[in-house]
Structure formats: structure tokens, C-alpha cells
Amino acid sequence: MKFLPTSDGERREMLAAMGARSIDDLFASVPAEVRRDPDLPPPMSEIEIRRFIGGLAKKNVNARDTAFFLGAGVYHHYVSAIADQMLYRAEWLTAYTPYQPEISQGTLQSIFEFQTHVCLLTGLEVANASLYEGASALVEALLMAERLSRGRTKAVLSGAIHPEYRETVRTYFSNLGLELVEVPVGVDGTTDARALAAAVDEKTFAVAVQSPNFYGVVEDWAAGSAAAKAKGALSVAVIAEAASLALLRPPGEGGADIACGEAQSLGVPMHNGGPLLGFLSCRSEHQRQIPGRLAGMTKDAEGRRAFCLTLSTREQHIRREKATSNICTNQGLMALASNIHMSLLGKEGLREVARQCHAKAEYLKGEIAKLRGYRLPYGGPTFNEFLVEAPEDAAGLLARLAARGILGGVPLSRFDPADRRRFLVAVTEMNERVEMDRLVAALAGRDA
């Protein structure tokens, strides 16, 4: 067995040294009734594993082989080769949480840099080392707001937040005695501002709005922030398409107290939906309630700049049932990939990616709007994703397109079976104009 470095001879020497007759002797405390050999196939060689797993991979159609317009929370963006290849370095890949700062300065400094990128993009002062993914990041943001409110019990969520994020919040809140109110979407596709303001009261600890929202429409952070501030609640900004942060007004400027969501778009492949990259940032006055790991700058015994994990007294391995959250790991390797990606793109590249995504989406949106029978239900401005209403069942239409190598969008029936004719189309810098023209032709029923 190639992962087991001990030879039979060494094993015998080891047993002799500890005075045991066999390895089985060491399992004496495991009752015989519970022991059982597993019914699994024989071991596979590396060649066989490549055949087996590679065969499964081939059964999928992937973004690289198709005209690809799927989004709804996971986006197909450019990732530089170096961002992935760096992850192969054993020093990154095979290390763990940097509990021992003296031999973990690489990971710690990278987290510190990642935190800085997130702060710059969201316009807030403090960010954590990452969270699992967008939906649980929203949960953590809401629970953080609840703690800061000292006794308030209600959260107000825009109904245009990603449906799986809202479902996650409902799951987490189900036993915590907290109330959730969801505010409907208005005619232009943004959260109904009047309904939002009316839903917020003195019991409300947080008002959460997503932008671009689930339907792709850009919201004004200021509307959610004003509704929150009017009643002394905290304003939570949710971002599922982080590439937008380089073009749109950042949450911090729009009055948000906490920004959270999904940063997969910034350097992480789609991975069939995971691992992704949750993030959370906030104002410095709230930094001691931030969930998850944090890297801080400090000095070593010789006065040299150094980094370490900090504020770990909030964490569960110390606080147990009084911990501020039950997160243990973060998304270390994905945060590293994202740090590399954001550093490479930098000020100019982040902006250019965002502009290209937007300009291409505007082009495609305009072309689809011209098609007979198709409608754009919402008139609000969009970034790189927009909602289309088809003249027929969207899932059936998209399945026909898929058979021709075009993954034209995500039908909303995936989230609500009753929502039959609407679908989301996402565009990124990866899409060429000729692909978009093919999609338009296929939607029109012309040969593509």
C-alpha cells in the first residue's frame, strides 16, 4: 500500500518494542460484535483510479466545452493558471490552520492580505479569513447583528436574496427563537422599498439586501441602510457575484454595517458548487463580534513584523456553548487562490473584468429583448445577469439548447416548480460575442 510507509519487518519490530503480539491486540477495547470488514471492491491502482474517476468526469458537460451562461450564485470566470498551480505547493496544500504562528507565517500573511482585499472591495474596515460559502456567511452576518443588538429578535430579508441563502437562514434560525420576515420584489426587480421600510421595527436587528440581487438587478444599498438605521437595526449587504464589487458602489459607501456573501467569482473555479469562498466584512466598531478566523499583525520576540490568529477567545474550542459561531475551519486554500487572483488583477484588472462582464451582458440582454415572444420582466439596471421570460416552458427550452452545446441559463423552476417560464442568464468575460449570437439564434429557433 503506497500510502503506508511501514514494512512488515518494521511492524514486527514496533510491536515487539511495545510488548504487543499483534495489531489486533491493540483493538481489544473495540467489542467483537461491532467489528466487521467492509464490503468494498479490491484496492485500485493509480491507473485504475484515473480510469474510474476520469470516466465519471467524462459523463458531465462542462463549461469549457459549451457556450455557457449559467450563474445563479456560481459563475464561470477567468482564473489565472498561477492561482491554481500555486495551490499544489505542499507548503500551502498540506498545512493546517496556523495555530503555531512561528511556522505558519506564509498562511497567516496570506490571510492578512486576503482580509485587506475584501476590505478594499467592500469599502469596510475589517474582514475575516473567509467562511464556508455565501449562504452560511449570511447566517453568520445575521447572528453577528443579533448579538450586537443585545436582545432584538427579528431579521428582515429581501425576497430577492438567493433562494438557497434564504432557505439556509430559515434552517439555522428554526430553533433559535428568531423571527424572519421576507419582503417582496417590486415591479422593477428591486426589493420593494416601502414594504421593506414597513417591515422594520424596534425588534429588528438586521435588514439584509442582496445586490446584484438574485434576479441580477442592482439594488441601491442606501435603501436598505436607511430602513435599518431608521429603527436602529444593522444593515447587511449580501453579494453573490463578487466580480461586481469593482464596478458597483461598495456596501461600505452605501451605509452597510456588514457585507457578506460569496467570493467564488474572484479566483475560485465553479467546482460543481463547492468548495466556494464565503466572506464577511464589517465596521471596526463591531470587529470583536466578527465570526470566524482572523489574522492580525503583531511582532515577534525580536521586534520583527509577524502575524498570528487573533481574538480566538470568541471561538468554540475555547468558548464551547458560548462561542459566537460554530464554524471551525474556514476556506483556507480558496482564500489563498483568491488572494493570488485579486493581487494579479489588481486595481486595473478587477475593474476591467467587471466592465467586460457588464458590457457583454448588456449586449446579450439587448439582443434577447429584440426577440419575438421573449420578455425582460424587470426594468431595473443589471450587472452581468438578468431574468428572461420565455414564450414556453423554460426548462424544456433550455434542455433543447443544451443538446446543441449551449447552456443558456438557469430555469427558475429549479427553485420554485411553479415558476415555469422565467430563466436567469449570466455573462462573464469568458463569453465571446459569437457564443452570445448563437444563444440568441437558438432562442429565436434559428439554427445556431
Binding site: 511495545m18 466487521r36 474517476i53 458548487g273 464551547r320 489588481g346 486595481k347
Partner: protein
């Protein structure tokens, strides 16, 4: 804070000590006019259809840096990490074993890495089949009928497991109020029970470090929803009375939850389902070798007994009679979901590759892990104090009792180990061992490495007696000296500022 501009490493320096100068931040390497990316020219009209009031100015402070500088920056940073591939990383409970590289390659196949979770089912049969096969393999290994792969990591798996229990009890009319947790448990257990709306009652361990059946019998009322048990526990000791424990919990209508963080101690040798365990999370990044990546991504599947199946998170992966696979969202009794999509899918690919490599010989993992831990135990007994001397499984927990009498703490010993080229053991728990040194070598270490570790630990014990200041001042050979963690928490600097 000023940072030296990097120059080639000085020729004459301690060869055991890397360049001791701090590395600049990536932001400090940035310079006007430098570029690290390339994009094709825009092939559509360059328009902005968003009102200016909703747009931002440039991202001030962001980098401008070439790919060359980025390559060097992150390579040099990496060299300031210790990792499994450099040497023994015996961080107890974390299972720092070798990460097979085939699995990395498999997870990066475009059919997985460039797959989208909302692609049409007909085009996703491979991703669904892999998830289904992994579920079947984990079901076989746990002896439990169904598994959800959705939780992102162990702690989220714990929460999912307790939510499942809660939902099942609610269906019988009463969710109950309390969860029992031994004092030896991981800190995540009480935190997870709390977030599921339960009050935690701590069970005091017996002098052997295991569950005291009398204490359990008294605490196990019909108001207790579950006992959360780590098997083997955090002392590395198997609950040899596991069948009695299950009987006591079940007699009162409670559920037996198993924290499977230590599944690697008996995977392929014994089955939790046969022990009376009803629900159990596993850490794919521990037992099944997916890389720890400097702190994630993890993955925390949860296996359940038949009565908990209706409540599993949405969606489940199902197989039709014709052999095709689909996602079942129509689960009205589900607890809901813990996160978006299917979970950390990339970890599923790695874990299935790993299980395939061992197949029906996966028990070798547990046998190797237990052999190695016991070898270290034999090599260090008498030199370090062993508070609980029950039989060790995959890890052994010593303490600094002898050394603390000389004024040297477990932290000092840990830091000194770095000078010998080893990662320190876990020290923050179990809480019932003061000054703990929790050592988990894993099965992927060979005898020469274990011998060197034992020798180093014995040498350090001698240093504690002969030159305690040497140990207290450690580490001496690392890129930075001991780091001021108290200062970091007092004066929080959590980001670079332009």
C-alpha cells in the same frame, strides 16, 4: 511599520534558519504601471447601463503587480509554512496524514472543476453518480443506511446531525431540551448543540477517561434529546462500553450522536451502525485525507439511521430504476439546507479516489494509525505524564505535569519541537488534561520518523531538566521567534492600509 526591500539572501547565516527578514505584503510590492493579467479585447460595444450613483470609483489601494512578482511573493511566503510533506505533523484530532496527489488531479478534471451545480440533470450524470457512489461507500463504512454530503465541514455536520435529531423528536411531539456531552468532547459539540436550540449538560468522565455508566444513567432523562459522543474520545480511548451506552440512551428515547472526527481509528475495522450509533458526522479532511489547505476547505458528511432519513437536508442524490441519477428536492420533512448546492463537491472527488485506492483494505488505515500512536506512547511513557492510561487508539494524550514542575509548559515543549523539525501536537484540549500534549501520528508515518520524534521528545524532556531556558526561549530556528499573540489581540491590526 517599515519593511526592508528584499535583496538576495545573505550568504552567511544559520543554515537551519530561513531568511529572518519579514516579507513585504503583496500590497507593498505593488508599483504604478505594473500588470499581472491579460484579457481579450472587448468584442461588444463598451457601455455602462447602470446609473452613475450606483457605481464606484477605482478600488483605491488595490495592487499593480506583475505575474513574476506574484509568483515569487507566494512562493517565498509558502516557504515560511510547515507542512505534512516536510515532516511529521502530529496535531492530535486533526489527522494530518499524507494527501495523495492523484486525488488533486482528479478533482481538477474539467468534468468536475468546471461543472456547474445547476446544469441540466442529463448533462450532470457523472457528478451525480460520483456523489451517489461516495454516499454508498460511506454508508458501507459506517453501517448506516443514508448519508448527506452537504455540510461544509465537521462543525456544520454536527449542527446538521443535531437538527435531524430535533426534527425527528418534534415529530413525536417533543423536541426535548438537553443534549449530554462528556467533558472530554471537542468544543464544537457544545457550540453545535447550542445552535440547534439545546441546553448542554456536561457529563463528567470516570477516572479511566471514558463515560461513567452510572453518571449517564442518572443524566439520561426523557428530556435528553441526544448524547454527543466522540468515538474514540479525545483522549484516544475507545468507549469499550459503547453497547451499554447506546442501550441507556435508547431506553429513554434519546439518540446517540457520534462525533466522527476520530473515525480514522477504526474505519474499515468496526461499524458505528453496529454500535447503536444513530447519527454521525465524518470529516473528509481527516479520515479520508482531503488536504487541510491551511485551514479548509473541509467537508462534513453525516450518516444516519433509517428513522432520520426523512429529515435529511435538501436535496438528496437518488438513483432511478433505469440507472440514471437525479437530485430530489421534494422532501417535505427535510430540515432544509445548511448551505448552497450539494456541499464541498471537490472534496467528494478526492475522498472517493482515496476510498478507491484502499478498497476493502481500508482497515489498514486504522491499524496503521493505532500501531503508530501506541508506538509513540511506548516510547514516551515515563518521560511524559499520562493522566489517563486506558488503551490508546489513534492518538495519545500526555501532559506537561513533570515538566511544569521545572517551570516549563506544554507550549514551551511545543515550540521547542519546531527546532527539531516537527510540528507540535495539539494543546488546546481535551480540557480534562491540564497542559495537554495530544499526539496523533497517523498511519502515513514510518518507523524512522516515529523514532526520530520519540528521540526529540526525550531530548526535550532532558533539556527541561538541564537547560529549561533553552526550551522556554524556543523556537530558535524558525523564520520568526515567538510571536506576541497577546499584543495582537490587544492592539488589533487586521488589514493593511493604503
Amino acid at each position: 511599520m517599515s519593511v526592508e526591500v528584499e535583496t538576495p539572501a545573505a550568504v552567511a547565516r544559520d543554515p537551519r534558519r530561513p531568511d529572518p527578514r519579514p516579507l513585504p505584503l503583496v500590497f507593498e510590492r505593488s508599483g504604478e504601471g505594473k500588470i499581472g493579467y491579460s484579457l481579450p479585447p472587448l468584442d461588444v460595444p463598451d457601455t455602462i447601463g447602470i446609473p452613475e450613483a450606483l457605481c464606484r470609483a477605482e478600488v483605491a489601494g488595490e495592487t499593480q503587480i506583475s505575474e513574476v512578482d506574484v509568483a515569487r511573493h507566494f512562493t517565498r511566503l509558502s516557504q515560511r509554512n510547515f507542512s505534512i510533506d516536510q515532516g511529521l505533523y502530529p496535531l492530535g484530532s486533526c489527522t494530518m496524514k499524507h494527501n495523495p496527489r492523484t486525488n488533486e488531479e482528479m478533482a481538477r478534471l474539467p468534468g468536475f472543476a468546471a461543472a456547474h451545480p445547476l446544469a441540466p440533470e442529463a448533462l450532470s450524470q457523472g457528478t451525480l453518480e460520483l456523489a451517489w457512489l461516495l454516499e454508498r461507500a460511506l454508508a458501507e463504512l459506517t453501517g448506516l443506511p443514508r448519508v448527506t454530503l452537504q455540510p461544509s465541514a465537521g462543525a456544520q455536520g454536527e449542527l446538521a446531525g443535531i437538527l435531524l435529531v430535533r426534527k425527528a423528536l418534534e415529530r413525536t411531539g417533543r423536541a426535548r431540551k438537553t443534549v449530554l456531552i462528556p467533558d472530554s468532547a471537542h468544543g464544537t459539540n457544545p457550540a453545535s448543540a447550542h445552535f440547534a436550540g439545546y441546553t448542554v449538560r456536561e457529563l463528567k468522565s470516570n477516572p479511566r477517561g471514558t463515560i461513567d455508566l452510572d453518571v449517564l444513567e442518572k443524566a439520561m432523562t426523557d428530556d435528553v434529546a441526544a448524547l454527543m459522543l466522540t468515538v474514540p474520545n479525545t483522549l484516544g480511548i475507545f468507549e469499550d462500553k459503547i453497547l451499554d451506552i447506546a442501550r441507556i440512551v435508547h431506553a429513554k428515547g434519546g439518540y446517540l450522536y457520534c462525533d466522527g472526527a476520530n473515525f480514522n481509528a477504526y474505519v474499515g475495522v468496526a461499524k458505528p451502525g453496529l454500535m447503536g450509533i444513530d447519527v454521525m458526522h465524518m470529516n473528509l479532511h481527516k479520515t479520508f485525507s482531503t488536504p487541510h489547505g491551511g485551514g479548509g476547505p473541509g467537508s462534513g458528511p453525516v450518516a444516519v439511521t433509517q428513522s432520520l432519513v426523512p429529515y435529511l437536508p435538501r436535496p438528496t442524490v437518488e438513483r432511478r430504476a433505469d440507472g440514471t441519477f437525479f437530485l430530489d428536492y421534494d422532501r417535505p420533512e427535510s430540515i432544509g439546507r445548511l448551505r448552497t448546492f450539494l456541499g464541498n463537491y471537490g472534496m467528494f472527488v478526492r475522498a472517493l479516489s482515496y476510498i478507491a485506492a484502499y478498497g476493502n483494505r481500508i482497515g489498514e488505515v486504522a491499524r496503521g494509525a493505532v500501531l503508530n500512536a501506541n508506538y509513540i506512547r511506548a516510547g514516551l511513557s515515563g518521560v511524559y505524564h499520562l493522566k489517563y492510561d486506558g488503551p490508546s487508539m489513534h492518538e495519545v494524550v500526555f501532559s506537561d505535569k513533570k515538566q511544569s514542575e521545572l517551570g516549563v509548559s506544554n507550549v514551551d515543549i511545543a515550540k521547542r519541537l519546531m527546532d527539531y523539525g516537527f510540528h507540535p501536537p495539539t494543546m488546546s484540549f481535551p480540557l480534562i488534561v491540564h497542559g495537554a500534549l495530544m499526539i496523533e501520528p497517523t498511519e502515513t508515518e514510518g518507523k524512522p520518523v516515529l523514532d526520530a520524534f520519540i528521540k526529540a521528545m526525550r531530548e526535550i524532556a532532558r533539556e527541561c531538566e538541564e537547560s529549561p531556558d533553552l526550551v522556554r526561549g524556543a523556537p530558535h530556528t524558525t523564520p520568526v521567534k515567538r510571536v506576541d499573540e497577546v499584543g495582537a489581540a490587544r492592539n488589533l491590526v487586521l488589514r493593511w492600509r493604503p
